[in-house]
């Protein structure tokens, strides 16, 4: 199968669905003629023009609220935040309106909306362009949250998002955008709430999120040379979260580490840990461990930036410590 990048795969999903569904439109700053700061919409403006590729003023709250009204009345908006930190000005529309309208209307109004943007630390982007925020949307009911780690998942999860009825956060780690992988040319959907076991092993289970997936996989290949077989799971979506697959793995390995670049407190690792505690306590041979980025705003300077993310040494140590427990 041909290999394409994460960005190309996601754009392919968008392109295919825009051709099929004339109610899809994209809003964002520079997503029109410019094709998106990250090329998310490259080439689409020429095909579909300004009503479907809508460059906006810098009004994140405004266009998110606007898209809510559009989604409620038959359209299917895709909000392209470029960098997801800009989402924060629209939290009122997201948490008080978009996540609640299907519920409040007893299912009579749908809220088909994709909210996409780049997350993650890297490139000395500093604190206003390095956030991730997904735990916030897992905490609040009413959102689907997709966190693909490779081109195949990116295309499949975005296609599902573009064809369902729900508001979906589709989060793209900026260090994954240029990674390549095999992706079918035809359209396909991936279900939400179905984790991928990317590597089988018996010594321990590592649940890795987003950019941590390739990092962890690479380290586990190294560890395998020392005879340590680590099972690696990518949840792919955080809401819903596939706890079943994680529990099954822990039943086998007895050990669990959750590796996540963003903040620990009330994060995904905490939630997975608590769920495995509740449902898999007797399977545990060691305490569940979490590895997270430092609990601090993201600094600019490369020496500081590197210090706040879990690097190769930290991940390796966390896995070795877990196995040694």
């Amino acid at each position: 199968m041909r290999e394409i990048t994460f960005t190309e795969a996601a754009r392919e999903a968008l392109t295919e669905q825009m051709a099929l569904d004339p109610s899809i439109f994209v809003v964002g700053e520079g997503i029109g003629e410019r094709g998106g700061n990250f090329n998310t919409t490259l080439g689409l403006y020429e095909k579909y023009g300004p009503m479907r590729l809508r460059d906006t003023p810098i009004v994140e709250r405004g266009f998110v609220g606007m898209c809510a009204g559009a989604a409620m009345t038959g359209a299917r908006p895709v909000v392209d935040f470029m960098i997801v930190d800009f989402i924060l000005d629209s939290m009122g529309e997201l948490l008080n309106q978009i996540s609640k309208i299907q519920y409040m209307s007893s299912g009579r109004i749908k809220m088909p909306m994709v909210l996409r943007g780049c997350i993650g630390i890297g490139g000395a982007a500093a604190t206003h362009h390095s956030g991730s925020y997904y735990p916030l949307f897992v905490h609040i009911p009413g959102f689907r949250v997709a966190l693909p780690s490779n081109p195949y998942d990116a295309k499949g999860l975005l296609t599902t998002a573009l064809t369902g009825d729900n508001p979906v956060l589709f989060l793209e780690h900026k260090l994954l955008l240029n990674r390549r992988g095999s992706v079918p040319e035809e359209a396909y959907k991936l279900p939400y709430g179905q984790a991928a076991v990317l590597r089988e092993g018996s010594a321990a289970t590592v649940v890795a999120l987003a950019v941590m997936v390739p990092k962890v996989l690479q380290i586990c290949d190294e560890l395998a040379k020392d005879g340590l077989d680590i099972e690696v799971i990518d949840p792919r979506t955080l809401a819903p979260l596939d706890t079943t697959t994680i529990l099954e793995s822990v039943r086998k390995t007895g050990r669990l580490l959750i590796a996540d670049e963003t903040f620990g407190p009330c994060g995904i690792g905490a939630e997975i840990s608590a769920q495995v505690m509740e449902q898999g306590f007797d399977d545990l041979d060691a305490p569940i461990a979490r590895l997270n980025g430092a609990h601090t705003p993201t600094p600019y300077s490369p020496t500081l930036e590197n210090a706040v993310i879990p690097d190769q040494a930290a991940i390796t140590k966390a896995i070795r410590d877990l196995v040694a427990e």
Partner: protein, 329 residues
């Protein structure tokens, strides 16, 4: 009372009267029910402002949409939601228009274009613009109406929403209900410029008009123009309606202190229903008996609605977490 160039026939003129009385009586009964503990949550009535919802919504088709506020009973009724469905919702009953999930501030009847009232100030403006975007995108001739109070005018949603509707020429009618107060904060303290229509014109280059919000014919005429403009692809409009709420901000709250007895009295004398009644008679569209008949009919409708609400069952607790998600991913 504006009476030049009335293009409406007597039936239509009486329908406006009927709607205003229907809103008034429903609100009065809901207020009473609230006092009796039958409405378990908050209740913001529309008494005194009926001419706006009635005048605007008379111009809408069933498939046009309305986005409303915390003070939305009047908009719901004027858009065609039955008094039964509104009353039952406020009583927290399964037969309410939101099946008991919403209450006063979350009325939904999307089948007939009531896309929701909201407990948060501001979003109606943005969502109203968004429905306009849908209609333009899908090449429909539906129009969208966003109601909001003077309290929303200083909010960023006003600025962002009006601007988007203007630059993209969306079929939206923004209706500002300036009743001079946001809870107890006076509009004159919230901004130095209370001429909302002028701001819409100068800052967003939007068609905008200021009307007496207690004159149902003035509101109707402004809305008729705005709806026609939107439907014809002429873009958005703003109607700045000056009005006054006759009851406290919400039922059970005090009403003195922040506004004077004289002010309240002066506005009482400008009651929109009484004014329209007088005009109907004077202009020969009705006799007192016709209006009495409407009144009687409304009273029985509203009595029935309250009785329906009272007799309806509460929702089944096991459904409390239903409908959070629709189909697909």
């Amino acid at each position: 009372m504006a009476n030049e160039d009335i293009a409406l026939n007597s039936e239509q003129l009486l329908a406006l009267y009927h709607m205003m009385v229907l809103i008034r009586r429903t609100e009065e009964q809901l207020a009473r029910a609230h006092q009796m503990g039958l409405v378990p949550g908050p209740c913001h009535t529309y008494v005194g402002e009926e001419a706006i919802a009635a005048g605007v919504c008379a111009n809408l088709r069933e498939d046009d949409v309305v986005f409303s506020t915390h003070r939305g009973h009047g908009h719901a009724l004027a858009k065609g939601v039955s008094p039964r469905a509104v009353a039952a919702e406020l009583f927290g009953k399964a037969t309410g228009c939101s099946q008991g999930r919403g209450g006063s501030m979350h009325l939904f009847a999307p089948e007939i274009g009531l896309m929701g009232t909201s407990g948060i100030v501001g979003p109606s403006i943005l969502q109203g613009a968004g429905a306009g975007y849908s209609f333009k995108l899908l090449a429909s001739d539906q129009v969208s109406v966003a109601f909001f109070g003077d309290g929303a005018v200083s909010n960023g949603a006003f600025h962002e929403g009006l601007n988007m509707a203007a630059i993209w020429d969306l079929p939206v009618i923004f209706v500002c209900e300036d009743n001079m107060y946001a809870t107890e904060v006076a509009f004159r303290d919230a901004t130095r410029v209370q001429d909302v229509a002028q701001r819409a014109r100068v800052s967003y280059d939007m068609a905008a008009v200021r009307v007496d919000g207690n004159d149902v014919l003035a509101v109707h005429r402004a809305a008729e123009e705005a709806v026609a403009r939107a439907r014809a692809g002429g873009g958005p409009s703003l109607i700045d309606c000056k009005t006054y709420r006759a009851r406290p901000h919400a039922e059970g709250m005090r009403d003195g202190g922040y506004r004077s007895a004289e002010e309240m009295q002066a506005w009482k004398e400008r009651d929109p229903i009484a004014a329209h009644a007088a005009w109907l008679i004077e202009a020969g569209h009705a006799e007192a008996a016709d209006l009495d008949a409407i009144e009687a009919q409304v009273n029985s409708t509203v009595d029935d609605a309250i009785e329906f609400a009272r007799a309806s069952p509460f929702p089944d607790p096991s459904t409390a977490a239903d409908f959070i998600f629709g189909a697909g991913g």
